[in-house]
Amino acid sequence: MRKTTRSEDLVRGIWKENPVLVQMLGLCPALAVTNSVKNALAMSAATFFVICCSSVLVSSCKRFIPNEVRISAYILVIATFVTLADMLLQAYAPVQHKELGAFIALIVVNCMILGRQEAFSAKNTVFRSLLDAMGTGVGFTIALVMMGGFREILGTGSFLDHPLFGPHFEPWVIFVLPAGGFLTLGFILLAMGYIEQRRRDRADKTAEAEASS
């Protein structure tokens, strides 16, 4: 693997390797809890906590974890922190905890977290693993808030419970329903594909122009 700098560790997860939008990991929470910005934020905060703590613990214990049982060990570490996050949310934000319901517990099987442990924390120092986890967590948050915003604005006509439009706005209810989750992510991916393709076309054209001149 190519050696990366510390800032790269941090930034990589935010856009270029965004867990949800590019790597398609952690889709279940990204679709299930983004019917409002508040839920998206609560979910991201819990996931951010879990991924940072697990990365630090896994990277500091990597010498003691036998290679054969490493996946089970990672899952155990993650499950412990998810239990912690579950209890913390229940204590300090009972309303959000109720709204998110079983999806807090389901952070355990978010492939994004396990993926970072296996791909990064198991091989790198504690500090760099923390940076990597923070980058991935922020990337996850961006994707979730983007989807939550899109769905809440179109589906209820408000943002963070503040009404945005006049009383004549007809909410597009489909977007807060499950079907809207699939459609929103689908449209975001289509838009990203379109941008990517245009950039590639332009790069090709420049290359051609340079070759012909």
Binding site: M87, L114, L190
Partner: protein, 191 residues
Amino acid sequence: MSEQSLFSIFFSAVVVNNFTLALFLGLCPFMGVSARVETALRMGLANIFVLTLTSISAWILNTFILQTAPYLRIISFIIVIASLVQIVEMTIKKFSPTLFRQLGIYLPLITTNCAILGLAIFQTNRGYGFLQGLTFAVGAGLGLTLALVLMASIRESVEFSDVPEVAKGTGLVLIIAGTLSMAFMGFAGLL
């Protein structure tokens, strides 16, 4: 103990609250294994099997062990699921190597399928008894299989149609899933 009748649990799990299309559980196989109808069907069957076993073990854990230590719930569930999948894998390998080859990588991947852990947690939250849990598991598994097979059949025909270059890939799959999910919303009023 919840008072819901077995039929309403079953029907709700298959269509009204379909695990994949309404609750977003088990999306990874839904995206990854839904390119061919045959593999989708096999994945669905493997899922029904594991879901049923999980439901039974979750009920045992809940009734006999976890009452004294409820905070160990998530951890114990995930360990049980992981070992269950491992045992199923070894059993299939021993008794039917052909099936084992056909299932391939999908079998171990069931461990990280949120549908399985989701089932165990929903079952606990709703306080289902043994039979209710079993019905719920079979219903959820059938619902997953239904969604997978529907999706795979649509994707097989989309392959031969003229799709714009940009839309190829996951974006299109998600929009198809959205449309399917809208179709399943029609069942919402039934229960």
